[in-house]
Amino acid sequence: MATLIAPEHTSAVEDAEKLQKACKGWGTDEKAIISVLGHRNAVQRKQIRLAYEDLYQEDLIKRLESELSGDFEKAVYRWILDPADRDAVLANVAIKKLSPDHHVIVEISCTRSPEELLVVRRAYQARYKHSLEEDVAAHTKGDTRKLLVALVSAFRYDGEEINTRVANSEAKILHEAVKDKEFNHEEIIRILSTRSKMQLMATFNRYRDDHGTTITKNLEGDSGDEFLKTLRPTIRCLNDPKKYFEKVLRNSIRRVGTDEDALTRVIVTRAEKDLKDVKELYYKRNSVPLDQAVAKDTTGDYKALLLTLLGKED
C-alpha cells in the first residue's frame, strides 16, 4: 500500500501558481513546495508541470533545480519526475559512478513489473541516447556484467502459472551452486533473468523447503566476490522486494552519517507503491517506527519532504 496522501481532485493550474509564488522573489518557500508536491501523485505532478510550462513558459523542474539545493533538491527532483523517467535517471547515475552501484540497477530491474521495466528502457533511451543495456555493458565486466545486462533486458512472463517440476530442478541447481560456492554463473544467470517472478518464488520456496533455510541466508558471509555482491540483492529483490527495501532503509539510516541517496531513492520510488508495507516491516524488525528513525536522522526541508511522503498528516 502507498503512503502518499494525495487528494482526488486537484487543480494543476492552482498548484502551478502556488509553486510559482513559492519560487518568486528572494528566497524560496520550501514549505509550500512540499505541501503541494508532497501531496500529488504521478499523474497530478505531470499535469502540474504541463500547466506550469503553459502559464510561465518555463520548465518547472529547471526552476526548482535552480531554487533548491542539497539533499532536498535531489529528493524533489527525483520525486517530481515520471516514475519511468526517474528510474532511468537513477540507473544512469548508478552506472556512471566511478564504482557503479550495481544494486541500484538490480533494484530497478527486479522490483519493477515487466511492463514498467520496458517503459524505463524507453525513457532511458529518450534521455541518454543509448539503450540501458548498452550503458550497463559498457560500464561493467565479467559475470557481473552478464547478470546485470540479462536482468535489465528481461521481459518476464507476467502470469501466475508455476511448473513445479522446473521449480524443483532449478532449486536443486541453485543449491548446488550456492553450496559449492563455485557458482555456475551461467545457470544462475539463466534462471534468475528468464523465469517469471511467480516461478522464481516457487523455486525459492522449494529451496527453503528442501534445505531448511532460505537461499539468501546461504549467500551471506563472503563479501569479497564482485559477482556475489550483485547476486545477493538480485535474489533478495526477486524473492521478497518489501523485505529488501526494509533492509536498504535500515542500512541507510543505521550508517554513521545517513546514506541519503539510498534513503531518498527508496522513499521516493515506493511512496506510491508499497511503502506502507515496508514501514510495517521496518517497525517489526527495528521496534521503532520508520518515521521516527527518519526524523531523528535527517533535518530541515529534506526531512519535511521525506516525512510527508511517508504519510505524515499535515
Binding site: L118, R121, R122, Q125, K129, H130, S131, L132, E133, E134, A137, R145, K146, V149, A150, S153, A154, F155, R156, Y157, D158, G159, E161, R190, S193, T194, R195, S196
Partner: protein, 305 residues
C-alpha cells in the same frame, strides 16, 4: 488415352513452388477413368507401379504435395496475422524445430524495429505463457547465449555514433575472430555484448571500420559461422541476408525449409523488397498458381502504406 502434353502438364503443375491450380482443373475435370489411368502410368514423379500392377501414389510425393498446397494457405495466414503474433509464432516454431531454424530467430530479432521486437515478445507471453528467453532455455547448444541476448535487445534507434568506440569494437571483433579460437566465438562475451546491445547505426559504423581497417568485411570473416554471420548481416546489411535467403529458396535443389523462407521473407519484408529490389528474377518462372499470384502481388503492392 491421355496425351503426352497432358502428362507433362500434370507434372509441371507440381514442379515449381506452389501449385498450378488452373492447369490441374482443366486436366483433371476433363479426364475420364482411362485418361486418368494413363496419366498415372505416364507420370514418373507421382506414381509408382505396385507389385499388383496398379499405379500407386508415391509416398514421398504426397508429402511434397502437402507442402505445395499449403504454401498459399501459409502465405495468407502469415499475411493476415498481426505482425507481433506472426513474429512470436515464427520464433516459437524455430525454437521447436531446432538448430537448422535458428536463423529465423536471428532474422526476427535483428531485422525488426526495437518496438516491433518488443511487441513480438509481448505477443509471445500471451500465446505461449512463457517469455521467449525462457523457451530458449530448451536450447542446449552454444547458440543459446547469443539468441537470448538478441531477442532481449531494445536497441537505441537514434543517430549519433561514437566513431572511436565503433572502431575499437571492430578491433575487438577482429581479434575475437582471428586470434582466438574460432570455435569459441559464440562464447566470446565481449563479441556477444557488442552485437546484442549496440544500436544498428553503431554496428553499421563498426562494419565500415572493420572493412577499412582489415581489408575484408566482417561478414566475410564470419563465413561458415552460421548464426553469427546471419546476425551480422541482419544487423548491418539486411538486404544481403535477404537476397541470400531468397536465392537459396529458388535454387534447383532447394530443400523444403529453404523454400518456406520465400513466404516468410516476402510477406514480412514486402515494403523493403519494393525499395531495395532484391527479389531474384527467377521467381517469375518458378512460382506457380495462386501462391505465385499472392507473392507477386504482395511485392507489387509493397509500397502501399
Amino acid at each position: 488415352m491421355a496425351l503426352p502434353v497432358d502428362i507433362e502438364a500434370l507434372d509441371k503443375a507440381f514442379s515449381g513452388i506452389g501449385v498450378d491450380e488452373k492447369s490441374l482443373i482443366s486436366i483433371l475435370t476433363n479426364s475420364n477413368e482411362e485418361h486418368k489411368r494413363s496419366l498415372r502410368k505416364g507420370s514418373s514423379k507421382l506414381f509408382i507401379e505396385d507389385e499388383n500392377g496398379f499405379e500407386r501414389w508415391d509416398q514421398s510425393s504426397i508429402k511434397i504435395l502437402k507442402h505445395q498446397f499449403n504454401r498459399f494457405r501459409d502465405a495468407v495466414v502469415l499475411s493476415l496475422l498481426h505482425p507481433w503474433e506472426r513474429d512470436a509464432r515464427l520464433i516459437e516454431k524455430a525454437i521447436r524445430k531446432g538448430p537448422k531454424h535458428y536463423n529465423v530467430i536471428v532474422e526476427v530479432a535483428c531485422t525488426r524495429s526495437s518496438d516491433q521486437l518488443l511487441g513480438a515478445r509481448k505477443a509471445y507471453h500471451s500465446l505461449f505463457h512463457h517469455s521467449i528467453e525462457e523457451h530458449l532455455t530448451h536450447i542446449k547448444g552454444r547458440e543459446r547465449k547469443l539468441l537470448v541476448a538478441l531477442v532481449s535487445a531494445y536497441r537505441y534507434e537514434g543517430t549519433g555514433v561514437n566513431e572511436d568506440v565503433a572502431k575499437s569494437e571492430a578491433q575487438i571483433l577482429y581479434e575475437a575472430i582471428n586470434n582466438g579460437d574460432k570455435n569459441k566465438l559464440l562464447d566470446h562475451e565481449d563479441a556477444i555484448m557488442i552485437l546484442a546491445t549496440r544500436s544498428k547505426q553503431h554496428l553499421q559504423a563498426l562494419y565500415r571500420h572493420y572493412s577499412q581497417s582489415y581489408g575484408k568485411t566482417l561478414a566475410q570473416d564470419l563465413e561458415g559461422e552460421g548464426i553469427l554471420k546471419d546476425t551480422v548481416e541482419c544487423l548491418c546489411t539486411p538486404q544481403t541476408y535477404f537476397t541470400r535467403v531468397l536465392e537459396a529458396a529458388v535454387k534447383e535443389d532447394a530443400d523444403e525449409e529453404s523454400k518456406r523462407a520465400l513466404t516468410r521473407v516476402i510477406v514480412t519484408q514486402k515494403e523493403q523488397l519494393v525499395q531495395e529490389g532484391f527479389v531474384p528474377n527467377k521467381i517469375q518462372d518458378i512460382l506457380l498458381g495462386l501462391y505465385k499470384d499472392f507473392l507477386l502481388a504482395s511485392i507489387a503492392s509493397g509500397d502501399i502504406k
